[in-house]
Symmetry: C2
Subunit: 291 residues, 2 copies
């Protein structure tokens, strides 16, 4: 199945979940507006490719696990864009949720996207123990011990200088943990040994770091059309970024180094488990910046 | 164990969870500020009393299940109070989260309280299948198929007249489903038969309805000191309420009738299962309004 077909199947899975029984059609509409805004679907695609990398055939349950992850990611984007947070009017080239539906609805749509995915996971056709492990891992990656804490640290870093170590800590939590989740989740689903799971987690962490450096680099160099949102927001918010701390060139080198390390570790996993990292390597190469 | 001792144990369980490893101490502080604001702890107490009603001795896992429920309830209160929602400055006699910590932190504290409890549940010492069922039920009660949808319906009901049926539908979701959860969860934990689970669910629904009517009645009749928050908010928001639709007297009669029906059903459950509803009946009687 091509990557586009996987994305299509993912979107059908999300749609099916939200259309099963509607209590408030307006809430469903607001939720699906953001879920269907496109985007690269990086997190769910990583999960699906990793599961296939372990030689498993993708099932409905795997798509549900991928959907759950994308739902939490989307909920965090909706809340990040709120006036009291980043106050963004556009996301992926479309009006943000609060601009389209009002602030109250955007808060509630985000809330739903945090509360719903666990139920979706809990009902997936997977062994109960695997589901419990997936849920524990996702919850820790997303909440007070992961993404949300990273957002608080990030928010508090605005208007003052952060060190490189502080910056890494912010992003390891804010974006890193949810990007690491597919690697751990695939290992749990495939029943991989703890050692393999640890290596995959490390790859996810490197990728998460790379992804944030990439975001910072693009914020400096890309236009509204390329980003689909307002560029140079970091500068306006007086936030420390990798380019600001390291310089543009060294930040780009650091970014490439993270991706290289991840690729080496992937080859290492291929040697010690029944696993093919070919598609993941393609995704990693797709993240490289031109020029 | 007395009810106060149970509340104390519940609060210790919550504290232990949030102090295990802190990434952002400020986030933890904001979360615990709202979790430790007191309140009746009705939902977790119902769960604990129901579990004991089935003859089980309370374990750490039961307290964790009760804490998970209280966390979601508290998260919803924080977001309900936001300026874009009900815009309340006080809750339980203290400043609301956004008044104390700022709107951005209040949004994120609420987000954490939606994302964390599933991980807490997933790690509790209970059989995996029971945990999966508890998580599925809690997620459905809280998100798009429960509480959040009810909040949207409620929000949309402001400034216009709702029928009694619409009002019931709003509250069955907004407050009813999370109040019903302890009844279903206790049945799942005790491994009760489906028929018993259904009856307990019905009791929860009646209690949820009663609780909302009670809230509406208090909004009309109580003072700031009695409520710990601004009274007559419903009137100001031009919301349909049970007293507005039924008159004060008939609303009070309807409220008592819900509680009576719940008590009768409890006696019915006592006849058909190894279950004692004594403590639950006490809680129900404690909800009655004087005069």
């Amino acid at each position: 199945m091509t990557r586009d077909e996987k994305i299509r199947q993912l979107e059908l899975t999300i749609d099916e979940f939200y259309r099963q029984k509607q209590i408030s059609p307006d809430l469903t509409e607001a939720i699906l507006y953001s879920l269907q805004a496109g985007g690269k679907r990086l997190r769910p695609l990583l999960l699906l490719e990793l599961i296939e990398g372990f030689g498993l055939e993708l099932t409905r349950a795997h798509y549900q696990a991928a959907a759950a992850l994308e739902m939490i990611h989307t909920g965090s984007l909706i809340h990040d864009d709120l006036p009291a947070m980043d106050n963004d009017d556009y996301r992926r080239g479309r009006l943000t949720s609060h601009k389209k539906f009002g602030e109250d609805m955007a808060i509630l749509a985000g809330d739903s996207l945090f509360l719903d995915p666990y139920g979706l996971l809990a009902k997936a056709e997977l062994p109960s123990q695997v589901k419990v492990d997936l849920i524990a891992e996702l919850s820790q990656a997303a909440g007070t011990f992961g993404m949300v804490a990273g957002q608080v640290l990030d928010m508090q870093g605005e208007g003052r200088d952060s060190s490189l170590e502080e910056l890494k800590r912010i992003h390891a939590n804010k974006t890193g943990k949810l990007l690491t989740y597919p690697f751990v989740a695939a290992a749990l689903i495939a029943g991989a040994e703890p050692l393999i799971q640890d290596k995959l987690r490390r790859i996810g962490q490197l990728l998460g770091l790379a992804f944030q450096v990439r975001d910072d680099l693009l914020d400096v160099t890309a236009s509204f059309e390329e980003l689909g949102k307002t560029p140079q927001k970091d500068l306006a918010a007086a936030k420390s970024t990798y380019p600001a701390l390291l310089g543009l060139e060294e930040a780009a080198a650091f970014f490439n180094d993270c991706l290289d390390q991840a690729a080496v570790l992937l080859t290492d996993v291929e040697r010690s488990a029944v696993f093919s990292g070919t598609e993941i390597k393609k995704i990693i190469e797709g993240l490289r910046l031109n020029g």
